[in-house]
Amino acid sequence: MFYRTSGQFKTSYESDQALFPIKQDMVLLVVILATMYVIFPMFASEFTYKALLVPVLIYSLASLGLNILTGYAGQLSLGTAGFMGVGAYACYKITTIFPEMNIVIALFLSGFFSAAVGVAFGLPSLRIKGFYLAIATLASQFFLVWLFEKWAWLYNYNASGAIEVRTMDIFGLVVTGPNASPMVQYYFVLGIVSVVTFAMINLTRGRYGRTWKAVRDMDIAAELVGINLMRAKLSAFAVSSYIVGIAGALMVFFWKGAAEPNLFDIPMSFQIVFIAIIGGLGSVMGNFLGAILIVALPVVLNLLPEILGISIGSATMEHVNVMVVGSLIIMFLIVEPHGLARFWALIREKLIIWPFPH
């Protein structure tokens, strides 16, 4: 009843193509944004910022990047973490070579490096498809991590072999380093994520989005309707890696504060693939839902026995935790293979016809 779309007629293509043609969606968006920008900061503790809010945002962003490539353009990549690494190391080098540079500019510049590397590793996609491509992206993953390990120049010859983020500020407000307030970092990340998300929503519903989806759904046919496959695939790789690179830089600079090469190894790639898939391939909103689930679930599960007052050995807890997360993933895939975003869409459809089914 309250989710009724009838009566909302569109009289021009402009309004039909508006971001939120349905009024209720607009309201929902405002509610979400208000929650993120106003309500959370009112209640969040440092732990909430560091273990939940900031990671969820950063992982969402990385997953959004992956989703462009896998969900929209149909090229399965298992090398996301490697590209995040490129972004992070690029940002690290930029900020050490140009210490005066504003961190925002450094961030957006570092995206170009990961985009370039992404395009280079995307070249084989012109010939290689499906799981072969997926494994091939693992090649980039292994190679990049090896490179981060070997190429001491990348980490400024630090004895620790890791990159460490120094304290930086924007107009006097400390945003990175141990002294930065988690809330400031949260707002910073939230701001960037909002901007990129907005841009991606637009990009995916326009020409680029259509081209990518066409390649995904049937690349031969796409070619035969005049789409230049090379440009379509490489642009997807570029945009995707750009976002992923920014996510990597954000991760190191605004969340972790330091990173060793292993951070960017396969487990993280998989985690991001999970987020994208559980959230829903080919959806922007899904990334956020997926990240909430995949990032927050283990944290919450870990807190659970404490809340319930049960005492279990930490190891047993972890075993159970891993089993539960594994099973939940399978369960989610079974219940809704198209991800949480689709789940939401179904709920919406039911709401539209509610309370009179069919």
Binding site: I128, F131, Y132, V322
Partner: protein, 327 residues
């Protein structure tokens, strides 16, 4: 100039000058390759029958080996004899692998019939996580020793003295090679000569169409996963005999991936040939080029890059099925 020498000439000079060492390198490469192939075989079988890229193959290796060792150490006090315990533990482990196959089919595959490949792939990662948690819960995370002797696997070494040097072959490595060859041949016969084999290949092409002609997905999937489980057990035994049984073994699954790329995802013979090719090349490259030029540890990526280059020329690997493009 000097680099050119190290790249182009020196390696070959060394190969000729120290031939026994070169032979040893080749043998080690061959053995590693065969070990990779064993894991790749499990992948291939499942992929062929269901287009499922079974990421859980690695953990299945660990799980099978742990079950065997765990059951064995549980049984020894009761039967009092290492060998008898092994003889009982072996079929019990096979039983566990069968139960696992049934469980996977029932709880994961059946509800996901007809879903896109990537979903099933993710599901196998879910299975991997579950098995890691479950395995550690039951068996604990400590290293265990493979019951090599109790299983009657030879543990000695064969020594040759070619070219006045020495060449050393561990008997258990020889055992691994022979076992792999037997496994591959029987699989090839099974797949190409039996109606079941044909059904397995049909399933890989189109689940729904296979259902429509009366092929029972459940039966075949249980069978295939069980065979993959058996292969996992075999793999676990030979890997375990080399380096002990622990969850760290799981990462060896990654080593099978370039083998799959090279050999082709659906080809049993590709798995073995690709494995051996990668084992040999990777070892030779590491020893003669990797270590002098890159400071070593090139094995982490060499196989991938090599396979990638081959894929550029043959996008379906050396023996994989061609991707059919027709409109």
């Amino acid at each position: 100039m000097e680099t050119l020498y190290t790249v182009l000439i020196d390696p070959f000079v060394q190969m000729v000058e120290v031939p026994d060492f070169f032979l040893q390198v080749l043998w080690e490469g061959l053995v590693s390759g065969v070990l990779y192939s064993l894991i790749a075989l499990g992948f291939v079988l499942i992929f062929k029958s269901s287009r499922i890229f079974n990421f859980a193959q690695g953990i299945m290796v660990v799980f099978a080996a742990l079950s065997l060792v765990g059951l064995h150490s549980f049984l020894v006090p009761y039967v009092g004899n290492e060998f008898v315990a092994a003889a009982i533990a072996m079929p019990l482990t096979l039983g566990i692998m069968y139960a696992l196959a049934m469980g996977v089919e029932r709880m994961v595959l059946r509800p996901l019939v007809g879903q896109p490949d990537i979903i099933l792939f993710m599901a196998t990662i879910g299975i991997t996580m579950f098995l890691i948690g479950f395995g550690e819960f039951v068996f604990g995370g400590e290293n265990k020793v493979m019951i090599t002797e109790a299983l009657g696997i030879p543990t000695g070494a064969i020594e040759f003295e070619p070219f006045g040097g020495f060449l050393l072959m561990e008997e258990k490595d020889v055992f691994a090679v022979v076992m792999a060859i037997i496994l591959v041949i029987s699989l090839l016969v099974f797949l190409n000569k039996s109606a079941m084999g044909r059904a397995i290949r049909a399933l890989g092409d189109d689940h729904t169409a296979a259902l429509s002609v009366g092929i029972s997905l459940s039966t075949i999937w249980v069978l295939v996963w069980f065979i993959a489980g058996v292969i996992a057990l075999a793999t676990g035994i030979v890997w375990g005999a080399r380096a002990g049984v622990s969850f760290a073994l799981e990462v060896i699954a990654y080593k099978a991936l370039p083998v799959l790329m090279l050999g082709g995802l659906e080809s049993v013979s590709g798995a073995i040939i690709g494995g051996i090719a990668i084992g040999l090349l990777e070892k030779v490259f590491e020893i003669y080029w990797g270590q002098p030029l890159f400071g070593g540890n090139t094995e982490t990526w060499f196989a991938f890059i090599f396979a990638l280059i081959v894929l550029l020329f043959r996008p379906q690997g050396l023996f994989g099925e061609k991707i059919i493009e027709r409109v």
